[in-house]
């Protein structure tokens, strides 16, 4: 092999190996910090890990929202309306579109007693936009999760 071509081949191999290593490292780090999404039945049946950052979602069960009298702490229940529901605790300000019966996303961790300690609560951005995570959940007859594909 002529030296010029060999050099070029070496350079290409070097770049490829370097790029592959970089991507591998990035993905490794991503796996640590990515947040998997779990629907309510997976939170309930134990698929969702405890003490690891995850995301979950569901509909806010009517009548389940309870606020502490002195602080910003709030507790509510998320349900898929098919028998699976779990409790969420949050300390902070709920988004404007947080309402009972509304589909929402929470980000945080499950604690040892399998209560979801939320660090962030996300509601739908507007009446038409639906987080793709919640699209697979069943709708509840008109309100909340209905007609996500309506263009806005």
């Amino acid at each position: 092999m002529p030296p010029k071509r060999r050099n070029r081949l070496l350079a290409v191999a070097f770049v490829l190996v370097g790029a592959a290593a970089a991507v591998w490292l990035l993905l490794l780090a991503a796996n640590e910090s990515l947040n998997l999404f779990y629907p309510p039945h997976k939170v309930v049946n134990g698929d969702a890990p405890v003490g690891v950052g995850i995301r979950a979602g569901g509909m806010v069960l009517e009548g389940s929202v309870q606020r502490a009298p002195e602080t910003l702490q709030v507790a509510f229940t998320l349900t898929d309306r098919q028998g699976a529901d779990f409790q969420v605790l949050y300390d902070g300000i709920l988004p404007d579109l947080f309402r009972e019966g509304q589909g929402i996303l929470v980000r945080g961790q499950l604690d040892a007693s399998r209560v979801f300690q939320a660090e962030e609560v996300l509601a739908k951005h507007d009446e038409n936009y639906m987080p793709p995570e919640l699209m697979s959940l069943p709708t509840n007859g008109g309100s909340g999760l209905a007609s996500p594909a309506e263009p806005h």
Partner: protein
């Protein structure tokens, strides 16, 4: 009737884009100068019809024509008139119409300003631009017609514009951003035209530079406006979330920034020419990828448009066609641009290469983080993940800090090679100055900074010191007039430093508290006291509001802040309007959360030092980029291809490229 005329105008624009593409590309291929000149006419025609189509939609909004589905979905008779106009680009269909109108403006600008380019090159560029515009227009007409009617039973009133979008930020943010996105089509078209006409000397790089600068400046402004809007309008007080839609605009910006720098090396030294071509193709391809991410709904984002699979499929196919075609052309012809220009290790070329390396790696990080959730979902059969800001910050921040360190040195170093010893002395002096300044600022702030924050402070001041020293050196050397291009570069680099300082100091010194306050209660944070007076009812043109009253005492300075919780009458949606006391050194930010029991309110209080610097820096960058375009040498270029000597196709134009 008017909406139908608008629809017709868009159809005519599509026909003209086809004609323009054929005339420009085929005409140049066959060497027919009459055809090539006619391509420019097709461009002007497209602009005319796009303007008519756009005006028709604006008219439909202004007269509340709710028989037009798009108007009914995005407007309301109560909406103030300025928001009726901005509602035109408040959702998918209309914003696409704006996109094509801006495309028309860019094409016409190329046709108007580049009359002195070789005709074959210009015709090919215009042909490529027409082809792209044809793609956008077909997308508009086939999947997203904004003129569609709701007949025979139009609604009595419209569903209203999303309240988040009823804001000055939305009036200006999309046009600026689109001007940047679409503007990158010009360097793309120039690169394709250069490949097609085998004109791979550094002349095309020179022609590309002003266009790239202006498109980049628009993109910079657009991104900064979006960040500013998110800060004051979304009610969270954050300014960047690494949201897929933000990343969609940031990726072309990173590529365009790399392109700006690489073009400099290609023009001045003929270096990295094939790399520059590839970057020009990449930057616009990333614009298209951004459009795909925003408009297909494949990714979770707080502000993606509504989901429609056919649209996603169309853009994906278009993206594949454009990227695939351009890369194939590059593969066949790009090799001819390969050049081995020798330069020493300490040369401006090396530093520009380093700049490109860092920006491209940063781009790869953002791209990976944005698309990985998609790939993961496809690979695992539906498991959904998201990658949070910590991941992006962990990789992006060090890259930018290294870039800042190199940026201090870059402008000092001459082309080809530099005297290492003299350079070292100057740099050492600059470093001493910036370290001293950093220490001083750190003492003045009176807060302890983290290692990263202190590093960013030092590096921001390092850029300021080195730019200042270089400017002084130029003055001393007696160059009577420092060229505008140099001023532009300096300003843009200072802008980067200002943004860097803003990001670092905001990150380090911000105080963010969610508190529960009863009327009459006072909350003190970071030397600022907030007395909550209570909440009163208020009303606006199309909403009713609960207005919180806060008496703020900022170290003896008294002010009142009145954040609102608004309920819009048409859609019933609720929105938080934060109250902000802006300042060059500190923003005080209050927003209302929810009403709690016993008259208490949840209140969000932020004190954000230096947050304005983030956007101020972006303004400086955009201004610098534009200033450089006004430099004399681009006018000299115009003279070189003097009128009357209009080049014919295939003329080896621009062979000499003295700076």
């Amino acid at each position: 009737m008017i909406p139908e005329l608008g629809h017709l105008a868009v159809i005519l624009a599509l026909a003209l884009s086809g004609a323009g593409a054929a005339l420009g590309l085929v005409g140049a291929g066959l060497g027919r100068s009459a055809w090539m000149r006619a391509a420019a006419s097709a461009v002007w025609g497209q602009l005319l019809f796009m303007a008519l189509g756009f005006a028709a939609l604006v008219y439909a909004f202004l007269v509340d024509d709710f028989s037009v589905a798009y108007v009914a979905q995005n407007s309301n008779s109560l909406l103030p008139w300025q928001y009726k106009i901005s509602a035109v680009w408040g959702a998918h269909e209309g914003s696409l119409l704006l996109w094509t109108l801006i495309m028309g403006l860019w094409m016409a600008a190329v046709a108007a300003c580049s009359g002195r380019l070789p005709l074959g090159f210009l015709a090919r560029s215009l042909g490529v631009l027409c082809l792209l515009n044809g793609g956008f227009l077909s997308f508009l007409l086939l999947t997203s017609n904004p003129f569609e009617r709701l007949l025979p039973l139009p609604p009595a009133d419209g569903a209203d514009l999303n309240p988040l979008l009823q804001d000055f930020g939305l009036i200006v943010h999309p046009p600026m951003l689109y001007a940047g996105y679409v503007g990158l089509a010009v360097p793309f078209a120039f690169a394709v035209a250069a490949l097609l006409s085998r004109q791979l000397d550094s002349a095309w790089a020179r022609w590309s530079r002003p266009w790239t600068n202006v498109a980049w400046a628009f993109l910079t402004l657009g991104i900064a406006l979006g960040s500013w809007w998110a800060y004051y309008e979304l009610g969270w007080g954050g300014w960047w979330f690494w949201d897929p839609v933000e990343n969609a605009s940031f990726m072309p910006w990173l590529a365009a920034t790399a392109l700006l720098h690489s073009l400099a090396a290609s023009e001045k030294r003929g270096a990295f020419k094939s790399w520059t071509l590839l970057l020009a193709l990449t930057a616009f391809s990333l614009s298209l990828l951004g459009a795909f991410i925003v408009r297909s709904g494949v990714l979770t984002s707080v502000h993606a448009f509504a989901v429609d699979p056919t649209r996603g499929l169309f853009i994906l196919a278009f993206l594949a066609l454009v990227v695939g075609g351009a890369l194939a052309l590059f593969g066949v012809r790009g090799g001819a641009a390969w050049s081995a220009v020798r330069h020493g290790l300490f040369s401006r070329e090396t530093f520009l290469l380093l700049n490109n390396l860092l920006l491209v790696v940063a781009l790869a990080v953002v791209l990976l983080g944005t698309l990985y959730p998609l790939a993961y979902e496809a690979a695992t059969g539906g498991d959904k993940i998201s990658i949070g800001p910590p991941w992006f910050n962990r990789f992006f921040t060090p890259l930018m800090l290294v870039a800042a360190a190199a940026l201090g040195v870059g402008p000092f170093v001459g082309w080809k090679r530099s005297n290492l010893r003299r350079l070292g002395r100057r740099l050492l002096a600059c470093f001493a100055v910036s370290a001293g300044l950093a220490l001083l600022v750190g003492l003045l702030l009176g807060e302890s900074l983290s290692l990263g924050g202190a590093g960013a402070l030092l590096l921001g001041l390092w850029i300021v010191a080195t730019q200042g020293a270089d400017l002084l050196r130029r003055r001393r050397l007696g160059g009577a007039s420092t060229p505008l291009a140099y001023w532009g570069m300096s300003l843009a680099h200072l802008g980067f430093a200002v943004s860097l300082l803003g990001v670092a100091l905001t990150h380090e010194l911000s105080v963010e508290k969610d508190v529960r306050l009863a009327p009459g209660e006072t909350f003190v944070q970071a030397g600022v006291s907030f007395r909550f007076e209570g909440v009163v009812e208020a009303s606006g043109p199309n909403y009713r509001a609960q207005r919180g009253l806060f008496e703020v005492d900022d170290g003896g300075r008294h002010l009142q802040l009145a954040p609102e919780k608004r309920r819009y009458l048409a859609g019933g949606s609720v929105m938080t309007e934060a109250a902000i006391d802006p300042g060059l050194f500190k923003d005080i930010y209050v927003s209302l959360g929810e009403s709690l029991d016993g008259g208490d309110w949840a209140v969000r209080i932020h004190i954000k030092p230096f947050v304005r610097w983030i956007w101020l820096g972006a303004l400086l960058m955009a201004f610098g980029g534009t200033l450089a375009v006004a430099d004399r040498r681009y006018r000299r270029l115009a003279l070189r291809f003097a009128p009357g000597r209009r080049g014919l196709a295939g003329r080896p134009a621009g062979a000499g490229t003295a700076a």
